[in-house]
Structures are given as structure tokens and as C-alpha cells.
């Protein structure tokens, strides 16, 4: 395809000049690239992506910059306001707020990603399996889903975290439990999507050509709901981070001496009026983090949804005066048929003669 991309003009010349040839290819663009372009057209989403990248970089490399470890206690500075040695001040026990915030943020982020991944895995497995097989499999799985929905998850997580589990790896258990209690709603959505996909003709065709059920699910059903799953995963990270901070704020989540954004906020909240820096910095980071993640999630959703407005406006390129004919050509490589009411999984165009009309006769 790379050849075609580099000579888009030739292709269309061929179309008009050599009409008797049953072949004329116009440039095409991959689905992935098209989605990316739509994503990057969304300013807020790009901002979110940059913000998240910045936060992740800070979480990894930040501790090297501060000069303080989050466990380290500065005996000369208890509850000190921001200064040159402690950029964001210190806590009651003399720990550096910046170091604590960075560590707490990385802890919250990891928990968020683990929990969201787990819940997406669970929801897609349960959703597709129950819908595809139907019968008693569906009944049992739906019953489990409904049961999980009514179980008081907060209490169970709280009891587990305060009770038996402690130590440095307690956050792993927290991440898993957040995932375990977070998949049900999406699971039901996946189930209903699978129900409609299940009767699509390509799934039936696969069945009648003798494919086993698990292969149909993996090859034909999951890829076709992947856009939902990607959006769910992204937004799930945001929810999990919020869930984790909420629990930790109440003292039911990450336990000292380990720390997370929630633990920090909980600690700072008691002194929010008098020593506001302890509370403000982790709270600001939390708001910014969740905002970035949600902006990315919304951006991905719009980019994947062919009916959204990210297609731009009529004459957009002209108004912006966006450069050369070549660029216009390259930009024009998406599919056109999608827009006025087509299925719009826009990906590229191939304009060809329906060549086989001859093929049929000449065999």
C-alpha cells in the first residue's frame, strides 16, 4: 500500500485515463491512523494525554528530583510551609509533601491501571461468554453479576483491608478487589452488545463453517467490541483512582506507612484550614489526574465513533488554508461513504470496477 500512498495523484489519473482497465486504486489509510487523526483533532484529549504523560514521568523520575524520600523524616521541619528545601512543605511527622504526593500518585495510578485492566478483562469474559452460549451458562453468569452488584463492596473491601491484610503489598490486594467489584455494569453492556453481534451474519457464517465457539468469540466478537473496551478501560482507570482515594481517605484503603493520594488527602483534611499545603497539593494532583484520564477517554470514544463531530466541517481545510494539494490528497484518504448515514467505519477508499462481472463469464 505504501506505493499507493506515495503516488496518490497517479492513481486517480489512471482512473480517468485508462477506464478500460478493471483496476484503479486510490490511496487508503489504516483504521488506526484515521482514529489517531480524529483523536488528535480533539484539543482537550490531546491536553489530557500530555497531562497524563507528564504525571507518569513525574511519578517515575520525580523522586530523583526532590532529594527527599517519602519515608524520610526531617526532624528539623515539622508542619513547615513550602520553602526552598521542602518545595511543598512538610507534614506533621516531618515528611516531604512533594515526595509523598509523587509516591502517592504513582501508587494511585498503578492501582487504577491494575483495577481497570482486571475489571475490563472480567467484564468482557463474562459478558461475551454469557451472551454467546446462552442457556444455563448465561443464567449462572447473570446471577453472579447481579449478586456482585448488590453485595456491599465498600464494606467487604474495608473489612479485608483493615483486618488480615497489611504490609507493603496490601495495595495489590486493594487493586484486585477494586477490579473485582467494578466490572458488573460493563459486563452487562458487553453482554447486550454480544447478543446483537451473535446474530450478525459473519458470526453465523463462522458457525456454519465449523469454527469452535471460543474461536468465534476471540476472532469475531471481541475485536468488534474492542472500541467499547478501550473506552471502558480508560474511563475505568479514572473510576478506580477515585475509588481508591475514597477508600484511603476513609482509612480503608492503602495503609501507612505506604501512601496514596487518598491517604494524603485524608491526613491533610484534618488540618486543611490551618496547614492547607498538606491537603491542597495531593487534591490538586488528583483532580488533574482524573481530568486528564477522562479527557483521553472521551477523546478515544469520539475518535472511534464515526457519527461524532470529529469529522470536521465543510470546507475546513480551505478555511484553515492548510497547505499544498499533496497534503489535501493525503488528508483525503479516508472513506467518504461513511458520512451521510453509512456504517462509517471509515478507513480508506478503493474505487474499482466491479471487475468480476467479466470474471464470471470468462472462466
Amino acid at each position: 500500500m505504501s506505493e499507493d500512498l506515495s503516488h496518490p495523484l497517479d492513481a486517480s489519473d489512471e482512473l480517468s485515463a485508462d477506464a478500460s482497465d478493471d483496476f484503479a486504486v486510490v490511496t487508503r489509510i489504516g483504521h488506526g491512523r484515521l482514529t489517531l487523526r480524529r483523536f488528535f483533532r480533539n484539543k482537550l484529549a490531546v491536553f489530557g494525554l500530555c497531562g497524563l504523560a507528564l504525571l507518569i514521568l513525574l511519578a517515575i523520575f520525580g523522586p530523583m528530583l526532590t532529594g527527599w524520600d517519602y519515608l524520610e523524616i526531617d526532624k528539623r521541619a515539622f508542619l513547615k510551609a513550602p520553602s526552598s528545601s521542602h518545595w511543598l512543605g512538610t507534614t506533621r511527622t516531618g515528611r516531604d509533601v512533594l515526595a509523598l504526593t509523587l509516591h502517592g500518585m504513582s501508587r494511585s495510578l498503578i492501582i487504577g491501571f491494575v483495577a481497570a485492566t482486571l475489571s475490563t478483562l472480567l467484564s468482557s469474559t463474562v459478558g461475551t461468554t454469557s451472551a454467546y452460549f446462552g442457556g444455563w451458562v448465561e443464567r449462572v453468569l447473570l446471577w453472579v453479576t447481579d449478586l456482585m452488584l448488590i453485595v456491599p463492596s465498600l464494606l467487604i473491601i474495608g473489612v479485608t483491608m483493615r483486618g488480615g491484610l497489611s504490609g507493603n503489598m496490601a495495595w495489590v490486594a486493594l487493586a484486585f478487589m477494586l477490579g473485582l467489584f467494578g466490572w458488573m455494569t460493563t459486563g452487562r453492556v458487553v453482554r447486550s452488545l454480544t447478543l446483537s453481534l451473535k446474530n450478525r451474519e459473519y458470526v453465523l457464517a463462522a458457525k456454519y463453517m465449523g469454527l469452535p465457539a471460543w474461536r468465534i468469540i476471540i476472532r469475531h466478537i471481541l475485536p468488534n467490541i474492542s472500541s467499547l473496551m478501550i473506552v471502558d478501560l480508560t474511563l475505568g482507570v479514572g473510576y478506580a483512582v477515585l475509588g481508591e482515594t475514597g477508600l484511603s481517605f476513609l482509612g480503608l484503603g492503602v495503609q501507612a506507612p505506604d501512601t496514596s493520594l487518598g491517604t494524603l488527602i485524608g491526613e491533610g483534611a484534618q488540618m486543611a484550614v490551618t496547614y492547607s499545603w498538606i491537603f491542597l497539593s495531593p487534591a490538586a494532583v488528583l483532580v488533574f489526574l482524573v481530568f486528564c484520564i477522562n479527557a483521553i477517554g472521551d477523546g478515544i470514544r469520539d475518535a472511534l465513533d464515526p457519527s461524532s463531530q470529529s469529522g470536521g466541517a465543510v470546507g475546513r481545510k480551505l478555511r484553515k488554508g492548510k497547505g499544498s494539494a499533496e497534503k489535501q490528497r493525503a488528508d483525503a484518504a479516508g472513506v467518504s461513504a461513511g458520512l451521510p448515514g453509512g456504517t462509517g467505519e471509515a478507513g480508506g477508499i478503493v474505487i474499482m470496477e466491479d471487475s468480476a462481472t467479466q470474471g464470471g463469464g470468462s472462466q
Binding site: 451474519e201 484518504a333 472513506v335 466491479d354
Partner: protein
């Protein structure tokens, strides 16, 4: 001054690829009481034209030109101003009657609402009475009672009548009907078109009829505008267009349609290629790449409409050359090779598929916790069919007659509830799980919707290779076979790494056919294989199916709602009604001399693309809808709608209501029909 006048209408949409020039300069005038048909293939801009006239285009579109109603300009009016005109002076009948009605209000309320909104001084009572009157005009029985019913309580045809009643409500000046019968069965289509004509006569409105069905155009339109790539390419009276077409596209379109009244045997003339992409139109005539007469001057500038005779104009550079030429002089007829099998009489061929007394009943369940059976839907109720090698069996009937259920029963290869399915001499009830899987190789399927039949996330190679991989073919063999199959269905080998969305409907259908052929099946089940394709593409796929049959000695079971397609492609045809076969026989015998009253009505309901034939035909319009398969009438299932019943004496009628007729032999061939009174005219 004309009632509705459209001048140089242009509609452009934004898209990822650039601006979509959906409509590029449509002009026409419409007088009161006349019907204008907008004809064209999908993407030709006919629906967008009507939406722009109504002011219903999306906000992102830019519209220019002029639309005047009684001299008042409509373009540029605000949505609030247009709301006063829509439903009052211009009314619309949509394609899908299910989504055109709000499910939570009764139909009477919805019609009354239309009246009240535009006539606030009317009393609610008067509006309701008018709604009942309108429902009565469009032929809803017990209108006063049924006005209180909700849309889901009506069948598709009845719902479309309600939509027409709503369109008539305020005596509109213009009715726009956008594919009003495409979603309906042929028998219902005939009823609805009649109601639409009645609505037009009642209100004296002008009508814009948007359709792809040339038969409907022939029967109902006064004037025709043929659209191609967003532009009108030919305009004229219905007779001009059908008898003196002057644009090669129109000629090609008229020639490629299989005719219900013509004998099958020859391959269909084809119109090669696909409609162009309206984002990057090459300079010159948009039809030139497909036109056999194209000359260098066709590629330089787009031709404008030029008059042929008074009131008839066409956009073609070589107008003088084209006028008066027949289809066969312009478009070459493809050759069809026949195999040795063609000479073998039917009785001497092997039977590949046999259905004996096949039943498929679905239980009707009720209750949430404890589900009890309250009835049974007899989707397939004891049918016998036989398919020989190299033969095509067509199944026809209205939706709900059990055609698709029969196909699915064959494809499942399971033991049926009652009766037998014998595939290649093996009864499916005796198969082990392993044998059943192996037998899937022999029975493959091609589906209706080329969009849905192939997985959009897989490349062409993966799609075609999938059945081969499922049966454990070696990698090298798979590759060779995929290329072989692509060649067989007439697709280029370098398409392998593309995704389905890069292909047109016809090409996608070819991918589906290649996949079905991968494992060398002997039986191919075709479920509406061409109904989702445009007319000009359809012929190519039908020819391919025929060529493949001769080449590979395939046997086809085909379901299609288009009886003309069935006549063209099938050797034998079986007519189904409520799960039973009412008539079966050699295709030309059945079509030329239908014996069962249902078959007669079905065939007479199909419009023929020829205005003189169409207007002179006597049409048997069936009363009412298909009865529910869970509650068929006693005795002969067709007795509730049978036009013959009225001609019978009382004692004869009693027989129809009491006993179910069985298939009886007619004449010397294998023509059979199930009616007690076949002998009567």
C-alpha cells in the same frame, strides 16, 4: 408558476476524506397532482435532495441553490419557520414505518397531534374525528377502534398506511415519499402504493417518489429524474425515460434488471463498474469510466442536460449517437459457458438435498418466573423439497412464510423436530458430532447483507482463509487456495490485505461467495444474495453465481423476495405460505401459469419496469396481512385472504375452511399446487 420549483440545489457534507458533494445541481419543477420519481442507486443523492427540500439535512451540511414553494423561498428559513411548513404544506412518508411512529402514543393521538399543531383552533374532538376519518381513508379496518391502538399493534404495511394518513392530515401541497415500500413485502407494496395514490387523489398534492425500483416508477410516475453521482443525468416523462432513454446510464440500468415477464436462460446484461466516489470526482462525465461509448471528450468536462425532445433532456456528450440505440447495441452481453450437466435430465441427476416433512415449531412462552407455553408458532409446518446436482431451487413467499427458517434448519444440520433432512444421502439425525462438523464443508451459506456478512475487522485473506484454517489446512495450501478463490470470484489477488470497508457492496458479496466456496461445498444456501445490492451491481453477482454453478456443479437453494431474480436464476421454484409449500414446479411453468391463487397474487403484485405493460395490467391485490403463524386460519391457511374464495359456492367455501389442501399434480410435469379448486379459473 410551478408549485414546487428546485433550482441548482447543491448539498455538501464534511467528511474525513474531504467534502462529500452529495447533490450537485438538481433542478426540477413540479405541478400540483403530478408525480415525479427520483431514481438512482444508493449514494446518488436522491434522499439528500428530499431532505434538503424539507430542511431536514444535518447542520454540518451546506446547502445552496433555490427551493421555492408557490414562489416562496424555502432555503435559508429557520428551523422554526420550516416546522410550520413541514407536515402542513410538505409532508413526508419515510421508508421505515416502524421508526417513523412514536411507540408510546396511540396512532390516533399522533395523527391528531399533526392536525392540532398546524391548526391550533381545531378542537381536540374534531382532530380525533378527523384522524379516524383519515385512518378509514387509508384502509385501516375498524378505524374508530384501531385509532386507539399503538404502533406495535400494527403490521409493517398497516403502519405505513398510518404514516400516509398522517402525511395527508393537513392537505399538503407536496408529499415526499422516500422509498415508501422498500421495507415491505411485494403483496403489501401493492396495497401501500394504491393507498399512496388514493392519498394523492384525495389531497391533490404533488408527489416526489424516491425509489430504486424501476417497476414502481413505471407504474406510478408521470415524470422521472434519473440521478447519478449527485446530478440529474436524464429528465423526462415516464414514457421518454422507459422507451427513448438517451443517456447510456439509463439505458444500462433498464437493461440490467431481470424481468418477471421474460424467460430465463441467457445471462443478464451487465453494467460494469461501480458508481463513483462523490468526494473525488474525476473531471468529465461521472459515468464515463463505466460507459462503453466513452470517448476522450467525455473525460474533459462534465456534460450538462441538453434537450432531446420537448420536456426530455439528458446529460451526454454523444447524445446524437445514443438516441435510438437499444441496450444490446451499447452494452455487450456476457457469454455463459454451459457444462455437460446441462443436458442431463433432472430425473437422472443425483439428489443432494432432500427435506421430508420438515417441521420447525417455536413454543410461545409467557411469564417471567415460571414460563409456560401459551401457543406454538408453526414456522415450518411439514414441507418436502428435493434438490438435484447442479440445480437451483428458489424459495419465495412473504416475510414470515418460513423461508429463512427452512434455510437455517438445513444449515444447522441437526435432527429436525419432525421429518428428515437428508444431505448427500446422509440423514442429519444419524450424524455424530464429528461427522456433522465434517459435513459443514458440503453445505455453505451466502448471506444477504454484504456489510454484515464479513467481519469488518479482518482482512480479505483472513476472511477467506478462516474456513480452511478451521479444517486444519496447511499454511501453504491455504495461501494457494485463497488466491485461487479470489480469481474464481473475479477479485484481484492484491486485495488480500485490505479490509471489507474498502470494497463496494458487490465486491463484498464476492468475498462472501469466495469464503463459502473455500471448502468445495456441493450445496450453497443463498439467503437474499443480491437484495442489498444496487441494480447495476446485482446483475454481475447473479451472473457470477450462474457461472460458478456451471463450473463447479454446485446446487443452490436460494431465498429472495425479488421474484424476477428468482425467475432468472432458478430452475425450480417453491412458493411458501405460513410454513407450507402451496405451489412447486419448474420455474417457467409456475411463472407463466401459476395455479395457486396465492402465487397468482404474488406474481401480479410485482411491478414491471415498462409503463405500458404496467398500466395495463390487472393486479390482484390481496386483502390484509399475512396471518400470525401462531394462529393460522383453520382449513386452508390461505382462506383468510384468498381472492378465489368469493367466487365459490357456500359448500365449496366450507371445504376451504375445514380441510387443509395437499399438493396435487398439475399437467404432465412436476408442477404441483395445494388448492381444493385448482380447476376453477
Amino acid at each position: 408558476m410551478s408549485l414546487l420549483s428546485v433550482r441548482d440545489l447543491q448539498v455538501t457534507f464534511p467528511s474525513e476524506a474531504g467534502d462529500v458533494l452529495a447533490v450537485r445541481g438538481v433542478s426540477f419543477d413540479l405541478e400540483r397532482g403530478r408525480t415525479l420519481a427520483l431514481v438512482g442507486e444508493s449514494g446518488s443523492g436522491k434522499s439528500v435532495t428530499s431532505l434538503a427540500i424539507m430542511g431536514l439535512h444535518p447542520d454540518s451540511a451546506t446547502v445552496s441553490g433555490s427551493v421555492t414553494l408557490d414562489g416562496v423561498e424555502l432555503l435559508g428559513k429557520s428551523d422554526a419557520e420550516m416546522s410550520k411548513i413541514r407536515g402542513n404544506r410538505i409532508a413526508m412518508v419515510f421508508q421505515d414505518p416502524l421508526s417513523a411512529l412514536t411507540p408510546v402514543y396511540s396512532v390516533g393521538d399522533q395523527i391528531a397531534e399533526t392536525i392540532l399543531i398546524h391548526n391550533p383552533e381545531t378542537s381536540k374532538r374534531a382532530a380525533w374525528e378527523r384522524a379516524v376519518e383519515l385512518l378509514d381513508i387509508v384502509g385501516i379496518p375498524d378505524a374508530a377502534e384501531r385509532a386507539r391502538a399503538f404502533p406495535f399493534e400494527f403490521s409493517g404495511g398497516m403502519r405505513q398506511r398510518v404514516v400516509i394518513a398522517m402525511a395527508m392530515a393537513n392537505h399538503p401541497d407536496v408529499i415526499i415519499a422516500d422509498e415508501p415500500t422498500t421495507a415491505l413485502d411485494v403483496t403489501i407494496q401493492a396495497q401501500v402504493l394504491e393507498v399512496l395514490q388514493r392519498a394523492q387523489a384525495e389531497t391533490g398534492a404533488a408527489m416526489i417518489l424516491i425509489t430504486h425500483d424501476l417497476g414502481v416508477v413505471a407504474g406510478y410516475a408521470d415524470e422521472v429524474t434519473v440521478m447519478y453521482a449527485g446530478r440529474p443525468v436524464e429528465q423526462g416523462s415516464s414514457d421518454d425515460i422507459f422507451y427513448q432513454p438517451a443517456m447510456p446510464y439509463t439505458i444500462g440500468l433498464l437493461g440490467t434488471v431481470p424481468r418477471l415477464d421474460h424467460k430465463s436462460g441467457e445471462p443478464l446484461p451487465i453494467l460494469e463498474g461501480n458508481p463513483p466516489d462523490v468526494v473525488h470526482l474525476p473531471p468529465g462525465c461521472p459515468f464515463a469510466p463505466r460507459c462503453p461509448l466513452a470517448a476522450p471528450e467525455c473525460h474533459t468536462a462534465e456534460p450538462v442536460l441538453r434537450p432531446v425532445t420537448a420536456g426530455h433532456s439528458a446529460a451526454c456528450v454523444k447524445l446524437a449517437e445514443v438516441v435510438g440505440k437499444g441496450h444490446s447495441e451499447i452494452f455487450p452481453l456476457p457469454a455463459l459457458e454451459r457444462t455437460a450437466l446441462a443436458g442431463v435430465p433432472r430425473a437422472e441427476r443425483d439428489t443432494v438435498l432432500e427435506l421430508v416433512g420438515l417441521h420447525k415449531h417455536f413454543p410461545l412462552l409467557k411469564g417471567a418466573l415460571y414460563r409456560r407455553q401459551v401457543g406454538v408458532v408453526k414456522a415450518v409446518d411439514g414441507i418436502d423439497l428435493e434438490l438435484k446436482t447442479g440445480e437451483t431451487l428458489g424459495l419465495v413467499g412473504e416475510s414470515g412464510s418460513g423461508k429463512s427458517t427452512t434455510l437455517l434448519e438445513i444449515l444447522e444440520l441437526l435432527a429436525p423436530q419432525a421429518g428428515r433432512i437428508v444431505v448427500l444421502g446422509r440423514d442429519t439425525a444419524t450424524l455424530t458430532k464429528k461427522e456433522r462438523r465434517a459435513m459443514r464443508k458440503d453445505v455453505q451459506v451466502v448471506f444477504q447483507d454484504p456489510m454484515a456478512a464479513v467481519d469488518p475487522r479482518m482482512t480479505v485473506f483472513d476472511i477467506i482463509a478462516e474456513p480452511l484454517q478451521a479444517f486444519g489446512w496447511k499454511k501453504a495450501d491455504v495461501e494457494a487456495r485463497v488466491y485461487e478463490l479470489l480469481q474464481l470470484v473475479g477479485l484481484r489477488a492484491d486485495y488480500v490485505d485490505r479490509f471489507p470497508q474498502h470494497f463496494s457492496g458487490g465486491q463484498r458479496q464476492r468475498i462472501g461467495i469466495a469464503r463459502a466456496l473455500a471448502l468445495n461445498p456441493s450445496i450453497l444456501v443463498l439467503d437474499e444474495p443480491v437484495s442489498a445490492l444496487d441494480v447495476s451491481i446485482q446483475a454481475g453477482v447473479i451472473n457470477l453465481l450462474e457461472a460458478l454453478q456451471h463450473q463447479l456443479h454446485l446446487s443452490y437453494v436460494i431465498v429472495a423476495h425479488d421474484l424476477a431474480v428468482i425467475r432468472h436464476i432458478s430452475d425450480r421454484v417453491a412458493v411458501m405460505y405460513l410454513g407450507s409449500i402451496v405451489e412447486v414446479g419448474e420455474v417457467n411453468t409456475v411463472y407463466d401459469a401459476p395455479a395457486h391463487p396465492y402465487t397468482q397474487a404474488l406474481i401480479s403484485a410485482i411491478p414491471i419496469p415498462d409503463p405500458n405493460v404496467e398500466k395495463a395490467r390487472r393486479r390482484i391485490v390481496l386483502e390484509g396481512d399475512l396471518p400470525s403463524p401462531s394462529d393460522p386460519p383453520p382449513g386452508c391457511k390461505f382462506s383468510s385472504r384468498c381472492p378465489k374464495l368469493a367466487l365459490l359456492s357456500e359448500s365449496q367455501q366450507a371445504k376451504c375452511h375445514a380441510t387443509l389442501p395437499v399438493l396435487e399434480q398439475i399437467g404432465s410435469g412436476d408442477h404441483q399446487a395445494a388448492c381444493h379448486f385448482l380447476k376453477l379459473p
